[in-house]
């Protein structure tokens, strides 16, 4: 077995373990930490169903961000929607026969990749051009955007400029899933792409990417406005 294949296979297992364990740890921590008081940002829904709808609007539409900043919303929403399409499209490498939705988006996925990069570029530009956003940006904020642009860029490059052997790639990926390792195609762009994805997975639970699970646990968004109807007490209220 080529050393490259072994290295990448192990890296993917390690990154997956870090991602899953890290996220599970953070989610458990959020779930265990009590929310002593009712602090929904009002006006808030009065019922659990209303709260579910509020969170769904935040996840799907970025409702609050839309109220706040239209350009950021446009770039941010484009990036995330495109990322979703791209991720769904990638599932064609993980499923045999190909999962229907993955096949469905196959045609648009490369363009979603471009849209993703455009969205990221817009977000990144703000970090240089808007003095307020420049002030709050840490090196890690730039690095995260660089990482995603590089992942997107190398991916799009493989689609439009330097095609890789997708059949061999799929064999490698399925091999990982079924613990029956197959050689990884060894062209540089693909290795770069996969290497960066490994890095992204590994930093996820330690970075601001925690905003994804965080949103679901944010008390200002996930609490119902019912303190007069229902006494709010948690077991650990001091």
């Amino acid at each position: 077995m080529p050393i490259l294949t072994v290295a990448f296979a192990l890296a993917f297992y390690a990154a997956t373990a870090i991602l899953v364990a890290g996220l599970a740890y953070k989610i458990a921590q959020y779930a265990r930490t009590p929310a002593l008081l009712k602090i929904p940002t009002t006006p808030a829904p009065l019922t659990r169903a209303g709260v579910a709808a509020r969170i769904a609007r935040e996840v799907v539409l970025f409702e609050s961000l839309f109220k706040a900043a239209k350009w950021t919303w446009l770039f941010g929403w484009t990036f995330h929607a495109a990322l979703l399409v791209v991720l769904v499209g990638h599932l064609r490498y993980f499923t045999e026969p190909v999962w229907a939705p993955a096949g469905l988006v196959q045609g648009i996925a490369p363009y979603a990749g471009l849209a993703m990069i455009a969205g990221l570029a817009g977000l990144w530009a703000r970090r240089f051009l808007v003095d307020r956003v420049r002030y709050i940006s840490a090196p890690s904020d730039h690095l995260m955007l660089a990482l995603l642009v590089a992942i997107g860029g190398s991916g799009v490059a493989m689609r439009f400029a330097a095609p890789t052997d997708v059949v061999a790639l799929k064999a490698f990926v399925l091999g990982l899933l079924y613990f029956d390792w197959q050689p990884i195609p060894s062209d540089a762009v693909l290795l770069l792409h996969l290497g960066l994805v490994v890095a992204l997975m590994a930093v996820f639970p330690f970075s601001k990417l925690l905003h994804a699970p965080g949103l679901f646990f944010s008390p200002t968004r996930n609490q119902a406005d019912d303190p007069r109807e229902r006494r709010h007490v948690v077991a650990r209220t001091p």
Binding site: K26, Q29, Y30, T33, P34, A35, L36, L37, K38, I39, T41, T42, P43, A44, P45, L46, E58, F62, S64, L65, K67, A68, A69, T72, G76, L123, R126, D131, R132, V133, Y135, I136, S137, A138, P139, S140, D141, L143, V203, F206, S207, K208, L210, H211, G214, L215, F217, S218, P219, T220, R221, D225, P227, R228, R231, H232, V233, R236, T237, P238
Partner: protein, 498 residues
């Protein structure tokens, strides 16, 4: 009025986002609490020797008992959506008054001590040690947040900087660096029962005087009962209502409403304060202790209903937290929500036609309404979301003929703070208060110019005091701020109802 040594901001023709001016408000620092005011609240008297370690330990404790704090400190993506939403940033241009930057003051220490990335690569992720300089920044900039929650409306994850500044203040107080204004006041409530330190005889005297004044003016014996056992309603109201303009006219308004509705009500010495500054300093324990006085008063007097007067943060604590802190209130009449806002009571009476109102009594006034932050974004009135916006306006429209709203993005859930909330209503912060009022003054000036509005009505003691103070800085008069229930009181036709 002696003008302080700073320039009142010019109101631009259209709202503007200022350019960042680092350190613009670095000098703003409230007086620190004296040892006796610290100790009365269970905090060390002065900065403790091992403040660093104790601050980190306290942060750990707060993280362990506040899911919000945890999630907020982890989740921010530095998208910048909140950066132009804070009135203190808009009024000062100091970047540390951008909500995210204010959070970052705490977050950078959180990252350093509680996250792997911050422990390994502090520079990379903007983590930093808690130095003396950082502690100073905390003290200065957590006291430049009125905990108004405007930023949390616009943040894609609802990150609430108020929660962060409360945690920051709680950590500061617990290492010996408390704020004089808030802590002194909380001490008075613990000891005497109200923010002013007004003892029972003085209170009784004041209320008797009020009754006489009203009778003289109207010929009707409107009562202001104190500590009357067996009353139906216990009214808990901010102590400012007992004497200062324009607050006291609001109290007269409530009394007239109760009088006309034939509701037997009472005030209580023990709970002669609706305000609960325990909220401002982020101290669950102090907030609970103050809240328990309301429960004790209700039990002591055997009332059936609990009604709160016009006070923004008090209504937040009452509406959102009281049942948690001091409940259950199963000894009260279950047919009424616990607690009720006096605006809800008046609104309900108006709707049922139980009050005779003469709008023309307010005809010389052209009125706009200032949504107070804590009512707008941290509570509700009535039984539908947003009732906190419609009920006061319904009441105002029922009692005056000339009502005009300010620009839509400056009211409702996007309302701008008066600039004096969150424990900042003190003279040592007057520059901050004046500058923080800029966005509200801008919106007010617009309705003054467009609709010849003469008055702002509000339902918050802090807003009222703050406006009385800052209006003159912007070329208005201090008496252009009114209590909503002053307008109600002036429109009520006293006498027999049919």
């Amino acid at each position: 009025m002696a003008k302080a040594a700073f320039d009142t901001p010019r109101i631009p023709d259209f709202p503007e986002i200022p350019v960042v001016v680092e350190g613009a408000m670095g000098h703003s620092r409230p007086f620190a609490a004296a040892p006796e005011h610290q100790e009365a609240l269970g905090f060390p008297g002065r900065l403790v020797e091992d403040w660093h370690d104790r601050a980190i330990a306290r942060m750990g404790e707060l993280l362990g008992r506040s899911r919000g704090l945890r999630v907020f400190l982890d989740s921010c993506v530095k998208c910048g959506a909140c950066t132009d939403k804070c009135h203190y940033f808009l009024g000062t241009g100091d970047p540390k008054n951008m909500p995210v930057a204010r959070q970052d003051l705490l977050r950078k220490v959180y990252r350093r001590h509680f996250t792997l990335a911050g422990k390994l690569f502090p520079k990379l992720v903007g983590a930093a040690d808690l130095t003396e300089e950082v502690l100073e920044d905390w003290y200065r900039y957590f006291h430049q947040c009125s905990q108004c929650r405007r930023c949390s409306v616009f943040c894609p994850y609802g990150i609430d900087t108020a929660e962060v500044s409360m945690a920051g203040r709680e950590i500061l107080a617990s290492v010996g660096l408390g704020q004089k204004y808030s802590n002194e006041i909380i001490g008075k409530v613990h000891k005497i029962g109200n923010n002013l330190g007004l003892p029972q005889p003085a209170l009784a005297d004041t209320l008797e005087g009020l009754g006489e004044d009203v009778e003289e003016e109207t010929g009707v014996p409107v009562r202001f009962p104190l500590d009357e056992e067996g009353a139906e309603v216990l009214l808990v109201t901010p102590s400012a209502d007992f004497f200062a303009e324009p607050h006291v006219d609001g109290l007269i308004g409530y009394a007239k409403v109760f009088h006309q509705a034939g509701i037997r009500w009472t005030l209580s010495t023990r709970a002669s304060e609706a305000a609960n500054f325990g909220l401002f300093i982020g101290s669950y324990e102090n907030m609970r202790k103050v809240a328990l006085r309301v429960r004790e008063a209700a039990l002591e007097l055997g009332v059936k209903r609990l009604v709160f007067g016009e006070c923004g943060h008090a209504w937040r604590v009452a509406y959102s937290f009281l049942d948690t802190l001091a409940g259950p209130f199963d000894f009260l009449d279950p047919r009424y929500p616990v607690p009720q806002h006096v605006v809800e009571v008046t609104h309900d009476l108006i709707r049922r036609g139980a009050l005779t109102l003469d709008r023309s009594a307010n005809d010389e006034r052209r009125v706009t309404f200032h949504d107070s932050c804590n009512v707008a974004r941290a509570s509700r009135m009535g039984d539908v979301p947003g009732g906190q916006f419609t009920l006061p306006r319904d009441v105002l429209r029922a009692v005056c003929n000339h009502f005009f709203d300010m620009a839509p993005d400056t009211i409702g859930e996007g309302t701008f703070c008066c600039g004096g909330g969150g424990g900042l209503l003190t003279d040592d912060l007057v520059e901050l208060r004046v500058k923080g009022a800029l966005p509200r003054m801008q919106a007010f000036r617009e309705v003054v110019e467009r609709h010849r509005v003469t008055h702002i009505a509000a339902i918050c003691a802090i807003c009222k005091s703050q406006f009385a103070k800052v209006l003159p800085y912007y070329g208005f008069e201090m008496d252009q701020i009114l209590s909503v229930h002053q307008l109600v009181g002036d429109a009520i036709v006293l006498g027999r109802n049919d």
